[in-house]
Amino acid sequence: MEICRRNDEIEISELDPFLAELLRQIPASTNPDGVPAAEERIFSPPTNGNETEICAEWKLYVQPELRRLFQTATETVVADLEQLNGNEKKFANRTLRIPSKHADAWLNALNQARLVIAAKYRFTDGELSDQFRSPIGSRRDLSLFQVNFYGFLQEFILRELGGWEQGPSS
């Protein structure tokens, strides 16, 4: 896999089928339904629990807004991921281009996915900082790899986003 910035896009080329599949999994991975710990993490309370009135209002007025925001980000990512559903051979390497204007949506969706997966598997701090664990072994190992791979993408987008915010690349 190669990742680089080209003008106003991030280009991820030479994507092998395994990594392409992990990217396709982003939208589904953002869904916290059925995992209370993930739902609680994505929609965390606005106070430390003492202000029940604020928490009730938050649920009523703010959470629906947040839900919409997260949904919109995920939909943008879904649209970009359509590029991976071309007519090439199933096992051919693919290229994905992310426009700079979609960078925020990608950061958000990747973050949702990482938080949901981490909450689902209750990864420890030690596991989360283990960047070199093989994805082969168990579903848990694969999910940890997924969290780290999405983190790597976030880091790259953030670095490039800094460049875009400062002005055109040299």
Partner: protein, 113 residues
């Protein structure tokens, strides 16, 4: 501190005959706004999943902090478990917390004192 004044009128017209008009009862309710105006703090809590660079970017964007200040707060969160990012009126504090939640950071508002 401003005082909020609410005046409630309870006209007794329902039971009044055609030639008598009762004086309306005027109840004055004075409610202090102190509860609302006490400084509130916006606190961000540590989270092992969010990337340090991401948290720094969020602090820069939401609070307009320069990179160095944003990084200081990020490191405080990382090492100390929490950092007070801002304090002031409740309404603004709520807005900041909402924005931080939009970026999926663990943030709460807390009353000072």
């Amino acid at each position: 501190m401003d005082k909020g004044v609410a005046i409630t009128l309870f006209p007794a017209w329902k039971n009044a005959g055609p030639s008598t008009v009762d004086k309306p009862t005027i109840e004055k309710e004075t409610r202090s706004k102190e509860d609302l105006d006490l400084p509130w703090q916006v606190v961000v809590h540590n989270d092992p999943v969010n990337l340090m660079s991401y948290v720094t970017m969020v602090f820069q964007r939401v609070f307009g902090y320069p990179r160095e200040k944003a990084e200081r707060h990020m490191l405080e969160v990382h090492h100390g478990g929490r950092s007070i990012l801002w304090s002031g009126m409740r309404e603004r504090a709520e807005l900041y917390v909402q924005q931080l939640h939009g970026y999926l950071l663990l943030a709460t508002l807390e009353k000072t004192g």
